[in-house]
Amino acid sequence: MRKIDEILEDMTVRSSSKFPWRFVALLAVLAMIAAACGGTTAETTAAPDVTDTTSGTDTPDTTEGTETTTPPSVDGFEYKIAVIEDFTTDNFWTYLDTDNSVYNGYLLGGQAAAVYTQVAPNFTLAPSLAVDAVPPVGAADGDNWVISVPLRENLTWSDGEAIDANDVAFTFNTVKDLGLGGNWLGSIPLASEDDPETADVDESAVGLLSVEAADDYTVVYTFNGPPGLPLWQYGAAQFSVLPEHFWGPIAASAGDAETFEAASGEGAPSAGGFTYTTREEGAFARLSAAPYYDTGARTVVYENGAVEYTSPDGATETYGGTPEGEVVSDDVAGPYASEVVFTVTGGQDQAVLALTEGEVDFWLTPLGVQRGFLDRILAESDLEVITNPNSGFRYLSFNTRKFPMSDTGFRQAMACMIDKEFMANNVLQGVAISLDTTVPPANAYWHNPDIEAICAGLSQEERVAQAIQILKDAGWTWDVEPEWNADNLDVIPKGEGLKLNGESIGDLTVLAPGPGYDPLRATYSLFIEDWAQDLGIPLSAEPTGFNVIVEKVFGPVDWDMYILGWGTGVFPDYVVDFFESSQDSAEGGFNTPGFNNAEFDALAAEFKSATDLADAQQLVFQMEEIIAEEVPYVVLFTTPVLEAFRNNLSFPFTTGLGGIQQWNGSQVSVQSSQ
């Protein structure tokens, strides 16, 4: 035995000097690993056969009928949702204050009531607890401004207690007395008190002095001046209302914000059809269906945003204008699901696995499903994918305090060179949607459809010519003028020695997130660098950490250009925040470009005090026109939100800004055909 072994080994050793079989062995090991991924090709293509039988029958037409007629039953299905980040609190107060993540919102967002609210999917302002179709404007009372709002009667929390004016007042007083912060103060604009220490704070700013219950069904809001749309209709009228009978004793015994916000929200009554029951941190969380005052109410939303609401007892009202155009959403309030079960998965790959393996029915994510997952998701024939634009934008910002970014011609020429269609269609290939305004088209009411980006629709060659012309008109000169070379389809020679009235440009830097943080903006910055250099602008892209960019642009103003993004709400008061000269980021505001335009400032001031929606709309249109002309920002693109769910689920709508995740997954309206 031993001998044969030795002979065999001898042979292999000798043969090894000619043929590197050991190397082959290594490759074989690695090939096995490769096979692990290659091998699945056959599997995944074959798999759909199994699920085929279920796919054909239960398409939307069967559910359409049920949607309007079937009375909701609480012994329904489990709405199983995957999320990729854990929930950090179960206390609604904490969620709105320090733990304001979208994920906490998905879990808790539904439980609060509100006097007025915005209706999905068009964000129509409509009453929720209130009686009147639009928030009353109120009247002056001495120095103050008093608004009295009548509430609907017979509305109850999930435990049967009445929702009344005392709850509204309680919520306001808790925020004020315990000193809660964060987004509470975003919707409850407290009036600054006469405090000698804060003498430099602008005390003339309008704020909310008190919220009181005049009787059980009348709330009285007192402001220290006439509030505009951002403060009242889109501010205080919409703040979250929580039940006094549950939270009151807790707040009283807690005494301070820290203790109060550490309290558990388990068992808190809800006004949204589901109450929070349990969670295992890092693994799952659950909501259970609960009595809902609005169950059976039908809400039909039309293309123009008008809402037709039929209450459970059959009375019909319309809000937000006269119904016109197609129906975009037809929703009879449930809850239909008996449970909403959130499973926390480790990451997006795991979430897609959970979805394709049938462990969950929906992956709820604010970022949307990445395009690369489509192959795997579409391979399962019972999964549906929808796409909607995100409510936000990524942009290039110029430091207009500094030469040459201070020159409008320079900014316009840069904006002209940036070919957004080429970037969105050819380079970023559908994962970016070209955008020209800070208010996106999907935000239909506030979007100005007449704005066109500088040089929109031009070819590369025409853009170069146009940009050169813009610069020339603004008084710029070159030592070597750039020229389009039709043979090479490139600018040859590139511009050199670009000067304005003899003043030349030093090296410029555009700060942009690195490819590890956001490949889209990283790629964009490199192309912008190229285009700028074509014109003779010595610009270089600098991949920089997000925190460093923020630190720089909101601090000392020694930067040139940067690329970042904003996630925005629907009400466009951010347009004021981003460009009003008093909001200069050097003084702690949000106007990073340091944009200073008297015409714009006047419009902004008018907008802030406007109380009429139509007026406000016209003002936003005009402000957007100035931004498009003066280009402190070049708005670059937004991303689509792709969402995937099992086709047994049916939602009242699938089109709308931000998609279904914008509305926390439509928990109370989702139905299942199984």
Binding site: S16, P20, R22, F23, L26, L30, A34, C37, G38, G39, T40, T41, T44, P48, D49, D52, S55, Q348, D349, V352, L353, V369, Q370, R371, G372, F373, L374, D375, R376, L378, A379, S381, E384, V385, I386, T387, N426, V427, L428, Q429, G430, V431, D490, P513, G514, P515, G516, Y517, P519, L526, F527, D530, E542, P543, T544, G545, N547, V548, P640, L642
Partner: protein, 369 residues
């Protein structure tokens, strides 16, 4: 974990040099070097593990060199193959018929399921014939031997660039590590006392750090580039674990007779350390070069994988981009992930194997019976 095993004793070829004083020293050294190189090469060759490593290293080195040559000779157009902005913008429009479901797709070149088009935001009906642009990532073809990424950039070109980045990073990190560790180890061993205590406690301190977390902290500092990472890794390794290993080796050398001889002959301390101690620690240092390269390449890949480095391109970043775009577990786009994953594994493994091979030469106790 295995950096802590220090072979206790080594053969010291340097002994000879004290005996032959009449020939110019550099010549003797050169001759000895050549001789020992030949002998060592023979030993190295006997251990096939090391040879496998070396072959892979050379393969990747060639790959790294090839890219600038392809650009310089004009075989590759920068606008298409550049790793940062390269983009194959040729339009590939195909005509496709819309079918209801993936299962109904008989020929993927002419048919497409409706759900995909809806996901892309195109509202179509079953039976429509549509023009559709063939989207990146493209599978491997004549122009792109390893296909393209989701942005239309060439994978092979990225892989080549990544090879240069990996070599640059790995070798720089290793050089810094070993230079510091050898110096610190030798000095600590030779002088002992508080010098020794200081450096060893410092090494302990570095070993206490959660390395990955520290790297994440470091990467959030401003413009943290690849070479910053290399030097940072070098410092961590050089003052940390490697210093401890090399110190114990230097201790073993310190007690050899020729060190005493040099001291008796009146050599100053510094000269003894640089001329006698360090050269004799060098073989083991060289071994740790190999292990450090492995460590550096893996560290970069992990950091890039977590999306924490602001760099143009690297293998780790290729994997990160694939993952964040959602192609990681997609077998039908294997070319996005397999080449980069294999490259990190192979090159890191190759340096490790080569190091193992060298271990056999340097550590006589491991030689054949």
């Amino acid at each position: 974990m295995d950096t802590l095993q220090a072979p206790e004793e080594f053969e010291i070829p340097g002994d000879v040099e004290l005996l032959l004083q009449h020939e110019p020293l550099w010549r003797i050294r050169l001759r000895l070097m050549r001789k020992s190189f030949k002998a060592n090469w023979k030993l190295f060759k006997r251990n096939k593990v090391g040879v496998v490593g070396l072959v892979i290293i050379i393969m990747f080195a060639l790959l790294g060199i090839a890219q600038p040559i392809l650009f310089a000779t004009g075989v590759w157009d920068k606008r298409v193959y550049d790793v940062r902005t390269g983009n194959d913008t040729r339009e590939r429009i195909v005509e496709m018929t819309v079918v209801a479901n993936v299962d109904d797709v008989v020929d993927p070149n002419t048919q497409i399921d409706r759900r995909r088009l809806i996901a892309e935001g195109r509202n179509v009906e079953v039976g429509d014939v549509i023009q559709r642009e063939l989207k990146h990532p493209w599978p491997p073809d004549r122009n792109h031997l390893l296909g393209t990424d989701p942005n239309g950039s060439d994978i092979l070109s990225q892989l080549m660039f990544g090879a240069r980045a990996a070599f640059g990073l790995g070798l720089l990190a290793a050089a810094v590590t070993v230079f510091i560790a050898t110096t610190v180890g030798s000095v600590a061993a030779y002088f002992g006392g508080w010098v020794d205590s200081f450096f060893m406690r410092f090494a302990d301190l570095l070993l206490m750090l959660p390395i990955l977390a520290v790297l994440i902290v470091a990467s959030s500092f401003g413009r943290f580039k690849l070479w910053h990472l290399a030097i940072f890794l070098g410092l961590l390794g050089g003052f940390g674990g490697t210093a401890i290993v090399l110190k114990s080796q230097a201790l073993a050398v310190k007690v050899k007779p020729f060190i005493d001889a040099a001291r008796v002959a009146g050599g100053n301390n510094w000269r003894i350390v640089t001329a006698h101690l360090i050269p004799n620690v060098m073989p083991l240092s060289f071994l740790y070069v190999m292990f450090s390269v492995t460590g550096a390449i893996s560290s970069e890949a992990v950091l890039s994988f977590l999306g924490l480095l602001n760099i143009d391109m690297s293998w780790g970043l290729m994997i990160n981009k694939t993952q964040s775009a959602g192609y990681l577990l997609n077998p039908s786009t294997w070319w996005l992930i397999v080449p980069a994953g294999l490259a990190v594994t192979l090159l890191a493994g190759a340096f490790y194997l080569a190091g193992r091979g060298m271990d056999e030469i340097i550590n006589p106790r491991l030689r054949n019976r």
